[in-house]
């Protein structure tokens, strides 16, 4: 097995509101190996976006990283100073944002936006070197060179998203966190952007965390898959294995609720509604909607354990 590049251990992120603490990420642990694409999938309110911002250490009040460790290349990010963390962003840990439309500065030309991240990380370049670097970055994401002198609003949604991809690889980081990079795009464009990201991942040997809600997209693009529900990690495993044999009832129901060619006209969903993160249910957070719940599920929170190499699950069906 390859080396882990990122290790998250017992991470807790809470939002403090008038009514109490919202446990957006509650005791989550996982490992990302070098050169691996891992999907982090969850529905709204599962804590997946909070996870993304926690990894970048960009949680804003009233949110707070309560405890845990995030070890990147042997360094605990939570122990870094503000300035050191700033230098870590982009250089070691970059982000591809959700909705590129709003993520680019509307009054700045693309080349300036591509270059300023490098400048603030101490890269010194002549004018020619800058132009060459911009052209190279654009080429890597299949954008024509003329994009450099354009403004964000002159680009289509897919092209804007490509610009943010180019931005994220500009300092050749170890890990890229892609936060629903294609959720606002049409299927064809979504496929193009994802294929661009995949190609770059292979070419540059990146490790990627792809955050999303679309199991279909995950099936198409990641090596490993992590499933979150109500702030908790439910299951982690190799993508094929997860789809072939989901261990957690939530994972199974989620996969079954998705339409495929063979089951036309079959509509099976997960009954009930997602619990409030302010007062999550006792025991397993999923027991209120779980068809296989038994009395232990209401009483004890299942441990998140590795039941076979590389396969982790938090469910009493498998651990009790």
């Amino acid at each position: 097995m390859s080396e882990p590049v990122l290790q998250v251990k017992n991470l807790k992120v809470y939002y403090y509101v008038e009514a109490g603490a919202v446990k957006a990420v509650d005791d989550v642990s996982f490992t990302l190996d070098f050169g691996v694409k891992m999907g982090l999938v969850g529905e709204s309110g599962s804590g997946k976006s909070t996870m993304a911002f926690a990894l970048m250490r960009m949680i804003k009040p009233p949110g707070k990283i309560e405890s845990g460790q995030m070890i990147l290349d042997g360094i605990d990010l939570l122990k870094l100073s503000e300035e050191k963390m700033r230098q870590t962003r982009l250089r070691k840990l970059a982000m591809i944002p959700q909705g590129a439309m709003n993520a680019l500065n509307p009054v700045m030309r693309i080349d300036k936006q591509l270059i300023d991240g490098m400048l603030d990380h101490g890269v010194i370049m002549s004018k020619e070197e800058r132009e060459a670097r911009v052209a190279q970055l654009l080429e890597m994401v299949d954008l024509p060179p003329k994009v450099a002198k354009m403004y964000p609003h002159e680009l289509s949604g897919g092209m804007q998203q490509r610009v943010t991809v180019a931005q994220s690889i500009s300092m050749e980081p170890d890990v890229i966190i892609a936060d629903e990079p294609t959720s606002a795009l049409d299927v064809v464009i979504q496929r193009q952007v994802m294929e661009t990201i995949n190609r770059l991942q292979q070419r540059l040997g990146l490790s990627i965390i792809l955050i999303g809600h679309d199991m279909g997209l995950m099936a198409q693009s990641v090596d490993r898959l992590a499933v979150m529900y109500a702030g908790k990690m439910m299951e982690i495993g190799e993508t094929h294995a997860m789809f072939r044999d989901p261990l957690h009832p939530y994972t199974r129901l989620l996969i079954e609720s998705l339409p495929v060619l063979e089951n036309k006209g079959v509509f099976s969903g997960i009954p009930g509604i997602t619990p409030s993160l302010l007062n999550p249910p006792e025991g397993c957070v999923f027991h209120t909607r779980c068809p296989k719940a038994w009395n232990l599920c209401q009483e004890a929170t299942p441990e998140f354990v590795e039941i076979k190499p590389g396969r982790w699950v938090a469910c009493h069906l498998h651990t009790a």
């Binding site: 049409d186 193009q192 509509f267 997602t274």
Partner: protein, 337 residues
Amino acid sequence: MSTPLLELRKVTKIFGGKRDYTVALDDMTLVLEEYFPKIIAVVGESGSGKTTTGMLLLGFYGPTMGQVLFRGRPLHELKGAELFRFRREVQAVFQDPFAVYNPFYKVDNLLSIPIKNFKLARSKAEARELMEDALERVGLRPEETLGRYPHQLSGGQRQRIAVARALLLKPKFLITDEPVSMVDASLRSTILKSLRALNQEFGVPILYITHDLTTAYHISDYIIILYHGSVMEAGNVDSIIRKPNHPYTKLLVSSIPWPDPDLPWGGTEEMIQKSQVAFKAITGCKFAPRCPYKMDICETKAPELFMPERDRVVACYLYRDHTVLPREELSSVFAQA
């Protein structure tokens, strides 16, 4: 033949000014019959004109050219009782399950106002009963939903109330614009199931507007593929999804991310690369600039609707050996079983 319930007759819709305009819908004719309890999906990417089609049929946009007819009368001429009948009989479910609620009022309003205005109940108690019945049908507990403000409910709950509203009104025609695209995956099927029930149990025809081919495949009987305001392919949904004819439909179908790692994105690499080309207003086939099978004729003249099989039409010169279906008769392919 009786007057159809709703009809788009040679409708073109253009947005914007003299120089800076977009053709949202280009010479579209669509006849929607009253007693035809099927689900027709209108599928396209953003800018395809699919939402515009819905807005035109609901009378929220006026056509730039052509006519939108309700029972044979142009929508913009409807007044008084006729307009009232149109509102009563043609209903909609929209995409954003939050925006359809006036934040000032409780969610009850979405159900109680049409009951009151369309005089569906004789008493308060009867109205309440209607509302509770409809909510239960979509799997909601009335005591947990009525009396709440929209922000106190989840997106899935709000959208189910919107579907309950359609169930309660039992319109003659229902237009749904991306009803599940802003709802979590685990809740989508509940909503789709309710729509399907409304269609099958009460015989309400539905126009299902979406960008998502998979849900379109699952819920609908027929499909219309739009590209930049023009019909590319239309007909039986099973045949089209399983065996797309038009190069654009092929591109769309092969880009579906099926939730199955053993069923990877198909190889239409060349088209995928090409489809980055920006769209330009052209005289010929709209898809020509992206099409790998492009011929000279494609750039000069828009293709007719060719009919390779009885249950489908395709607007592509690759099929020009087949019979031509006049544009005005597009809806006739839906009558084929």
